[in-house]
Symmetry: D3
Subunit: 149 residues, 6 copies
């Protein structure tokens, strides 16, 4: 079946999930006034928060039998376990072990999500399936993406 897939076709498949978290932008290695100069009101003591919208993109060759790049049910399970459980309804500065040595900017969060997913996907990734991009919208106006470079 599926003669459109007779020759290999490389596609990019994206899935969005949302998590709601608090964070504070503050570098304890720097004096308070420098933190205010760099982070402004983002450095307020008790933190503030966001509805983070995360978009994961996988790339690779469409499977000839299923017509899928990857089983989205499996991806959903992975994202629940690795992302939602770790970040959703958490305070990023207090509750996430991997961020204890980091200022939890959106840039850093993107890099962390990439590292987490790359390790988790590990043996699933192969010549025909790659983690392509992690994109996080902190607000409707600001976003960051990381491609593993």
């Amino acid at each position: 079946m599926n003669d459109l897939l007779e020759r290999p076709r490389k596609v990019y498949v994206s899935r969005k999930i949302e998590f709601n978290a608090a964070h504070r932008l503050f570098n304890p290695d720097l004096p308070d006034d420098e933190n205010v100069a760099i982070y402004g009101k983002c450095s307020n003591k008790h933190g503030h928060g966001h509805n983070y919208l995360l978009e994961i993109t996988l790339s690779g060759i469409v499977d000839r039998t299923t017509g899928f790049l990857f089983d989205l049910k499996e991806l959903k399970t992975i994202l629940e376990e690795e992302i939602i459980n770790r970040f959703d309804h958490k305070h990023l500065n207090h509750d996430v072990a991997e961020l204890q040595k980091c200022v939890p900017t959106t840039e850093v969060l993107c890099v962390l999500v990439w590292d987490i997913l790359e390790e988790r996907l590990g043996n699933i990734l192969n010549r025909e399936l790659a983690l392509h991009e992690v994109k996080i919208y902190e607000t409707g106006k600001n976003s960051v993406c990381y491609l593993g470079e």
Copy 2:
């Protein structure tokens, strides 16, 4: 000028603003297990956060000279002073005086914003200009509105 306005026309004018805040749903009058039963992961100790989207609606008669219900530059100033300064980049449980005796649910936040704006608009409100609605989207999925009832 403006013969479309020869007879009084009642309109509803809405303006959206966004603020980013942390909150924790937790009632200190209740035991911990009851808080967990009621609020689930929303009761996590250090809180989480949202991009709150607030929509204010005024109603009243369009001014025949300006074609406006209300000067949006003035409304913008009021919203900056009363809402953004009070809530943006804050932790609602720790940083907002008016919420010290409240569980900062979206319902409570709606009621508070109404009370704040009603007091501030005070002498501006008259027979031809009313505060009509305060609506808050906590996420893209959940919203609450309050009409002063």
Copy 3:
């Protein structure tokens, strides 16, 4: 606690869910050409489909202890059982018993969702909690709402 709630406050709380379904607009009591005249390409034999976005609004008095109008975890369970299970990934004309005698327009779907929820919520509804509105967006451009009138 919660002195903002010392006097009763009536709020409207909305929650959105999405379901993906196929439907065909076709009235078997009418001749084919009349169906085409009324429904155009919406009457195509095998049907077409939509990402239906459903918004449920409850109204009532905010609870003084919890700061909630209604437990959203409970609402989520109800919507899963009554709406998602019944409509999601279904063909409305073939798979939904309640629509067997209906042309499954968005108007009809709105009325049906209201009737289902009103029956299910039944003994939960009281003087302080009402089903206020069922709104369905068939596409980003078209929507219908029903308030039980």
Copy 4:
């Protein structure tokens, strides 16, 4: 057919259309400095513009045979003829006859669209079909609605 419609059901059906237009907020009966004080940069000489998003809502009883409140193909034709032809890709101050005596604010535009549609729908409107609301989003942040009051 359609036993859900055995008793009359009142619904609200909304349709969105977009038009792109230029306008200038300027009242020629007032001196220039007063125009600047009232309208700020919206009074710039050559005008500016918007993607206006217009939402029309009709209300009434669902038809038992069709399951529709109103034939959306007919509504589409009406909106093309009355709204798109009149406003789309126009400069509201120069090109729209009905606005020659008006400052083309969104409030005024809402009232004008209502008047145009009420006249056009004229003999279609009856006890079971009413024009309910005209809503215009000037930007994603600002909107006005008019209900004929």
Copy 5:
């Protein structure tokens, strides 16, 4: 005219269109239980449906006389004829000849739209105008893109 275009400038121009279709994910070469294991509720017998949002991106050098990459009126006609006529208000499994040997996943649909447009644009494409990307959002959460690789 247009001295900004004195040197060649390569841009990417995107246009979105929507079509509403039903589909069923089911591979007749596989036993039923395997279909359920792979496609879950997406394999329901009569199908379900989506508001598919399609975004086409062309790339190339801006024309010095017109300031356009490509005449969007012509692109609109092509998309009406090739995409809307073929997919809108159809059941992809029953009504689309090109999909008869395929499981109509979003991946496969992306590849098919690319092949259709590449053939149709054929002699229009040249060194200065290329089909760059076909992106399809199946829902607000899931999307696939194909770049002809």
Copy 6:
């Protein structure tokens, strides 16, 4: 601090701003009928307008101390001074010096914004910080992007 940043990480940071402007697509070097053939109703004499949504993307290495690619407060100032002041609430054909020899299509606008920002960012740009992309959405359906090629 920030051991996630021990090795250099290249990210892409995007920020959206909106400006509202009028424009007319008309090339004075061509006869009127040719302008109508090319630009259709976009060539109407007094112009029309849009809510232009502009997305700027910078790329480069995340700073180890701040966790930022670039200070968004500084970017905001630059965008206010260079983009908002120049384009917002203006008629692109009459009020923007740089467009006097251009047909102000979205393609041309993208190229111009790139040139303006590249010059302004000038000495800020270095081996670790680049201007990556300028994207403009003219409407929700049409967009153009330019990457400096």
